[in-house]
């Protein structure tokens, strides 16, 4: 199946959960990333169950703190 992650098209052998996707796509600090699928937030508590489907658009939104110092 083909999905889009952070604007990049990727192909996966089979459907994966959000948690698995974070691993295979090497998400940075996966414990703190916000995940959005097709313009909707996914609850962190659903990461282990929620399946990513063919054609889905996934975005990882990362904490970015710097600025002042």
């Amino acid at each position: 199946m083909k999905i889009t992650v952070n604007g990049e098209k990727i192909t996966l052998e089979k459907a994966v959960t959000v948690e698995e996707l974070l691993v295979v796509t090497h998400a940075e600090t996966p414990e703190y990333v916000t995940v959005q699928i097709n313009d909707e937030f996914v609850d962190r508590s659903d990461f282990t169950d929620k399946l990513v489907n063919d054609g889905d658009t996934v975005e990882y939104l990362y904490f970015m703190g710097g600025g002042s110092l």
């Binding site: 952070n6 604007g7 600090t29 414990e31 703190y32 916000t34 959005q36 313009d39 909707e40 937030f41 609850d43 975005e59 939104l61 990362y62 904490f63 970015m64 703190g65 710097g66 600025g67 002042s68 110092l69």
Partner: protein
């Protein structure tokens, strides 16, 4: 208020724009923007807002200028090392544009003072140029509670992000990031480094948002997170929804008082 001859010259490149004109320039001159943090993001934001003739600029920072700041915090100069940043920032702005009234707040923002600072001049727009998550959540929650628009931003290494909160028009910062990460769970600029220009690019976008808001032109980054990757020279504008479960602006807010998160300010003194 009429523009003086000197102002007609100073702002001529604005005035010639049909979206600005003399009328828009007068709006800018009577507007009030608060910049929290005069560092990597706040410094360039403050300078462009001052040059644009934002008539009232508030600067909030508790810190003093250090040599290691000068690689990116362009409002401060070598002679300013050890000066309070708000004083250094005020001096640069005064030299650049005498039309701008600068108000300084040399303090750390907390749940106890942030609303008073915002209400002090009833600022029209707030720029978050802070470096730490407790401050970012505090600014967000205060702006949501006071129904004030603000621009969030963060920079690290070769990356940056920014979004704009407009009351009732899209998500707030907490809609996207529910709660601050634990201290040291995600790297800060000090630990990870940052390319000096990152604040220039992202801070200038924040200034652009403030100017557009005051003028009422164009579309803002409400409902979008703009991310920038300098290494790949890539901007992405990611649509983000309002989060109905948001603790501060959702359907049933659980956060009704400001929170001082129990997380130290970044360690940076040496």
């Amino acid at each position: 208020m009429n523009l003086t001859n000197e102002q007609m010259q100073r702002y001529s490149r604005h005035i010639i724009l049909k979206e600005v004109g003399g009328k828009g320039q007068k709006k800018l001159l009577s507007s009030k923007v608060l910049i929290i943090g005069t560092g990597g993001l706040g410094a360039p934001a403050a300078m462009f807002l001052a040059a644009a003739g934002i008539g009232n600029i508030g600067l909030v920072d508790f810190d003093t200028v250090e040599l290691s700041n000068l690689q990116r915090q362009i409002i401060h100069f070598t002679d300013d090392v050890d000066k309070p940043k708000v004083q250094s920032g005020r001096e640069t702005i005064n030299k650049m544009n005498p039309d701008v009234n600068v108000t300084t707040y040399e303090e750390i923002i907390t749940a106890a003072n942030i609303k008073d600072i915002i209400k002090d001049k009833d600022y029209d727009f707030i720029i978050d140029g802070t470096d730490n998550f407790p401050a970012k959540f505090l600014i967000n929650d205060a702006c949501v509670m006071l129904q004030k628009p603000f621009s969030h931003a963060g920079i690290i290494r070769f990356k940056g992000q920014t979004m704009t909160y407009l009351p009732g028009k899209g998500p707030c910062y907490r809609c996207v990031f529910q709660t601050p990460p634990p201290a040291d769970a995600v790297p800060t600029c000090k630990q990870a480094g940052v390319l000096g220009v990152m604040g220039g690019i992202i801070g200038t976008i924040q200034a652009t948002e403030a100017i557009k808001y005051v003028l009422g032109i164009g579309s803002l980054l409400n409902s979008y997170l703009l991310t920038y990757d300098a290494l790949n020279m890539e901007f992405r504008k990611i649509k983000i929804p309002h989060n109905h479960k948001c603790g501060v602006c959702g359907d049933h807010p659980t956060i009704t008082e400001l929170i001082d998160y129990d997380q130290p300010q970044c360690e940076f003194k040496r």
